[in-house]
Assembly symmetry: C2
Homo-oligomer: 381 residues x 2
């Protein structure tokens, strides 16, 4: 593959290429399964059995019941499914979201406000949402709290377990259900966590972040009140109608099997790469926290150079990095606003460059990146 | 492939196996494109270019502007995207839907009614929605009319062009926009039609119905007021955020290329199979209309035998057929209610068996199906 020789890919938080094994699973299922999992004939039952087998093996990795999992087209849909329950709620209420959420969470704010919801957005000073701030934000009208597990801009691991405990305590007193949702897209297959220990009501995941296929994701949910986003057939217990993407789901299962088989080993290797880059680039401000952060994301600042100038020069040299979340065309502004809410200085935020690593990032690639960044920075400043 | 020898697949209206070429495209894109189409580096731009190339080639097949197309996870999502605009509308109004719509359309009724919408459901006597009934249903409060292009239960082709004209005439007088949506899932790649001639505002499609991948679909829309279902990044012009399923979209493009290259030839071959089965099974009530119907769907009645008994016996003999739409676990009831709204007698509806053909259905397979149905029917009655 020609691109492997001239492309150095450091944008794994945006998307990862499908693994060979996951692609093999996709091909095998697409070739050998022809029925609709909802059909009652042999091919349908065969497809349904595979769907259930995959749901169970994925549930096992997550340490949850298979019945809590709904396959979606990705985390954006999973987040929308949860947040649309607020839009559809017979009465408006109050919702608490962190200011560092992915746009697929935050962008619901406008319509929720239109519908009479009040929203509290919490900053994440130095990368982390403060438990005290969550506690202070809760009111009798609070029906929803959303906080991601691993931030996609700097990699900070939020203290979701503590936030959930505080919400549950408040809930007990007020005797009103508060749904806690976590977008765990950057966590799955990268850092160890337990959904049941965190205590969240729901969580969203996307296969293409861990070398599974694009267009496949997962919603974990234990809140019986949750309503589906689309209506139609009874697929996914009615939670997500539409013919299941069987080959894609199976491929996600394979990618997750691989990720979990090598979780520790991958993490250690990526940590070394992360530490190496931190030390090589110590002349620059490092925006990712040094503790409680995923090793897979390292965001630096190249101030006073605007990030789009610097990243373009890296692109020209064959490096794929990001000046913000790739999930938006005006990503830079959004990345900046996330950084600002982390109390990153504006001049540093405007110069942010995100380096994100994958299971196949090599030390040699990291060395090449470090020396190119250093040379470029010296030349330009 | 072992299943080819012992499975005779007559459930192509539920799903079709991915074509060899479409799967090859999937593998090639998954292998050679590693970037997120929203990323600005080389791999991102390469992915974005392919996405646009595919959008344009698909638009060309449909005879529409590329900018009118939004890639989704399937027709269920495309239908939900359109219908959620009613749910989110600041004011409730009146909507007209045919009684023969797919559950992914009809199942929105409950929530719409909860939100104060009034709904008129139109029957389709002998398979077809009456233009007069649409005309009579329109009121000053009507904001939406939905009617599928090809019915999934019997294959009747609805006179959507005429229905749209009537709606547009009314709209001119009342000076209020009425959105016309057509679910064209069973039409694309099977019967010729022109979206611009039909004059609809929006239409939905699903790749796995024409040998593309599951989990990929398409929304055509020219109504500038339409709002997205999910929120987040600006993918698909903001209409459908979430990282694009590039390999899946490209594979859908290939499947559509193939379908259009052989549209006429496939149609003629399937028509012969359809006519052959109609004549072989002429001892049974044929529930599919003999005119203005897709040749790809033939629904018969095996009265007085319940359809689930008869279909199970066909399953045991290796045939995949359907007792209703496969898109729902309680499909039989739903198929029955569609048939009832077509004025099919209740005893015939309870005994319905849908045979649906694909591009690769052979005459020999149809002969085997006809003789098995006849033998079984004789033995059981």
């Amino acid at each position: 593959m020609a691109y492997m020789t001239d492309i150095l890919y450091f944008d794994n938080a945006a998307t990862t290429a499908m693994s060979k094994q996951a692609l093999e699973t996709y091909v095998s299922v697409a070739t050998n399964y022809m029925g609709n999992p909802s059909a009652l004939h042999k091919e349908g039952l065969k497809a349904k059995a595979l769907l259930q087998e995959k749901r169970e093996s994925i549930a096992q990795h997550l340490g949850v019941q298979a019945s809590t999992l709904t396959f979606t087209s990705g985390a954006t849909e999973a987040n929308a499914l949860v947040l649309n329950n607020l839009i559809w709620a017979p009465q408006s209420g109050h919702a608490v979201l962190s200011n560092i959420e992915h746009p697929s969470m935050k962008e619901h704010a406008r319509i929720l406000r239109q519908l009479g919801w009040s929203l509290t957005f919490l900053n994440a000073p130095h990368g982390f949402v403060n438990p005290e701030d969550v506690q202070a934000a809760l009111t009798e009208k609070t029906r929803f709290v959303g906080c991601m597990l691993v931030n996609n801009v700097v990699g900070s691991i939020q203290n979701v377990g503590t936030l959930v405990s505080l919400v549950r305590e408040y809930q007990k007193k007020s005797n009103r259900k508060i749904h806690f949702h976590t977008d765990a897209v950057q966590a799955l297959g990268k850092i160890p966590f337990s959904l049941t220990e965190l205590g969240v009501d729901s969580a969203s995941f996307s296969a293409h972040k861990f070398k599974g296929p694009q267009g496949v994701g997962l919603l974990y949910n234990i809140d019986p009140a949750l309503q589906p986003l689309s209506r139609g057939g009874n697929q996914e217990n009615g939670m997500r109608p539409g013919t299941e993407n069987l080959a894609g789901i199976a491929a996600m299962g394979t990618a997750l099997d691989e990720a979990f088989a090598h979780l520790e080993e991958n993490s250690q290797r990526v940590e070394k790469i992360n530490h190496f880059l931190r030390s090589e680039l110590s002349c620059l401000p490092i925006l990712s926290p040094s503790e409680h952060a995923s090793p897979y994301i390292l965001t630096i600042s190249v101030k006073p150079l605007p990030s789009e100038v610097f990243t373009r020069m890296l692109y020209d040299r064959g490096f794929c990095v990001s000046s913000g979340s790739a999930c938006s065309n005006n990503a830079k502004q959004k990345g900046e606003s996330v950084l600002t809410s982390m109390l990153v200085r504006s001049d540093e935020a405007k110069s942010s460059v995100r380096l994100s690593f994958g299971y196949d990032t090599t030390f040699a690639e990291a060395e090449s990146l470090a020396s190119t960044i250093k040379t470029l920075y010296r030349e330009l400043t």
